[in-house]
């Protein structure tokens, strides 16, 4: 048995039947690393229309008090739908640095 395998909980330590009891714990799994381009918000241009927010597949557009404040880069996969749908071009897609391509 590999050491890695031993670090995970054993059969006595996990709930029966494959149940997951911690709702929404997928936030512990970060998907931001999948991204090749990151969205960047120009707050001055933004009109808070929230199109980016409603079209985000990854619940990664942050809105606080009805105001779009930016992106949660832990989860954003960089699809760019937000940037494309922004009616005022307040979002630009920037290449992730360091680039994954060497």
């Amino acid at each position: 048995m590999t050491k890695k395998n031993n670090q995970k909980p054993g059969w006595k330590e996990i709930p029966d039947g494959g149940l997951i009891l911690e709702a929404g714990n997928a936030i512990k799994y970060k998907t931001g690393g999948w991204r090749t381009h990151r969205p960047e918000l120009d707050k001055d241009t933004c009109i808070n229309c929230h199109f980016c927010w409603i079209f985000c597949p990854d619940s990664a557009v942050v809105s606080e008090g009805k105001e779009v404040t930016g992106f949660d880069h832990d989860y954003c996969k960089g699809c760019g739908i937000c940037a494309h749908e922004c009616p005022v071009d307040a979002i630009s897609m920037k290449k992730e640095e360091p680039s994954t391509e060497k």
Partner: protein, 393 residues
């Protein structure tokens, strides 16, 4: 406390379901189980139960909806037979692995094809490794008793597994016999109320049921299931004892019939064991030391216990009302023989495949097996390990 009535096996099973009063029943009719669904529908129509009855469009959906209901914290039941059980196949594994204490009467019938509506065990025997507890009954009384105990067994904290309550199609399901029913309140007292530990409907504690379970955890979940099956053995004994205190009836893993001093014996399950008792009685009158082991609990399989009671015999015949087509015998045979191997018992074991598709099995047929066992003992040899009882050449 109890009252004797004359009911068909199906009527008895419907009564058990009514007295259990499940929160949800999702079921689809299939011969020979149909009457159970019909009678239960009438209980619902008359307001005799609190059950939400889901008239699904197939057995696949019957088991699917029952899984949903049980995951929602309901005491949930369904019932089926033969091809209906086969159509549920995929979901019976999910019911067991999701650890849902569903109780399901199965009115045993041959699994096609060619299509046949009569009794054999090819339906439930095929499901023997699905992770369900399986109980078998000699008669309507035992089927009724098993159904009530099944609720407690499945819901027990150490178990939490679904239970299949088997009853022979037509032979028991459609025959009127005497039996004692418990009073409704005694059934309710016995089974108690059900509180699932985690349910979809507990909105304060949302739960995810049925995730994608990959290489890193699936194996652990299987180990849990296996452990629950192991635990079921003690739980089944405890509940059988408690039920016997209440009713004076019942067995734990099996019934030993004139087995104490027996030299030859038959191991069988379900309705044929009643016929076998008559054969044992007749042989005993002739001075033959014949005995019978009637298996009630087939899953989990009580291997050491069976080996212990069979070890002092000279020869045992194991009767299987199902084929495996492995060419090495029926399912019960292979399990029993393997148990005897572990016990290092010096007892010849032979297998009789019988009664497929409802073929009648008479007292004379069973006496024939005992006679052959006597030959095995006398000649100290087995000419053929697996035989078909009464098939035409």
């Amino acid at each position: 406390m109890s009252n004797q009535v004359a009911l068909t096996g199906n009527e008895a099973m419907a009564q058990a379901m009514k007295q259990i009063n499940p929160d949800v029943v999702a079921a689809y009719p299939i011969t020979p189980q149909t009457e159970v669904v019909q009678m239960f529908s009438q209980f619902v129509a008359d307001g005799a139960v609190d059950t939400e009855f889901v008239t699904v469009e197939s057995e696949h959906s019957a088991m699917s909806a029952t899984v949903g209901a049980a995951a929602g914290g309901a005491r949930a039941m369904t019932a089926t037979a033969a091809n209906g059980l086969a159509l549920m196949w995929e979901i019976i594994y999910i019911a067991a692995s999701t650890r849902l204490p569903i109780v399901m009467p199965v009115v045993n019938r041959a699994l096609s094809g060619p299509i046949n509506i009569h009794c054999d065990h090819s339906d439930s025997m095929g499901a023997r490794d699905s992770g369900w507890i399986q109980l078998y009954a000699e008669n309507a009384q035992e089927a009724y008793d098993n159904a009530i105990q099944a609720v407690r067994i499945g819901e027990h904290d150490d178990v939490r597994l679904p239970v299949m309550v088997n009853m022979d199609g037509f032979i028991i399901s459609h025959a009127v016999e005497n039996l004692d029913l418990l009073a409704d309140e005694d059934v309710q007292d016995f089974i108690g109320t059900y509180q699932a530990e985690h349910t979809l409907l507990d909105t304060d504690n949302p739960v995810t049921v049925g995730p994608l379970d990959l290489q890193d955890f699936y194996f652990e979940h299987k180990k849990q299931q296996s452990e629950a099956m192991e635990n079921a053995k003690n739980v089944i004994v405890d509940i059988a004892k408690e039920y016997k205190e209440l009713t004076g009836r019942g067995f734990e893993y099996f019934e030993e019939y004139k087995l104490d001093d027996a030299e030859i014996a038959i191991l069988a399950l379900a309705s044929t064991t009643g016929t076998a008792k008559a054969a044992v009685d007749e042989l005993r009158d002739e001075g033959v030391k014949a005995g019978l082991l009637k298996l009630r609990m087939y899953r989990p399989f009580p291997a050491p216990e069976i080996a212990e009671v069979l070890s002092d015999l000279k020869a045992v015949a194991i009767m299987d009302r199902a084929e495996t087509f492995s060419t090495t015998g029926g399912p019960v045979f292979t399990d029993v023989r393997s148990a005897l191997y572990d016990a290092k018992a010096d007892v010849e074991a032979v297998n009789y495949i019988y009664g497929l598709g409802g073929r009648d099995t008479t007292v004379e047929d069973i006496e024939f097996i005992y006679n052959e066992l006597q030959e095995v003992v006398k000649s100290d040899s087995v000419t053929k390990r697996v035989k078909y009882l009464g098939v035409r050449e």
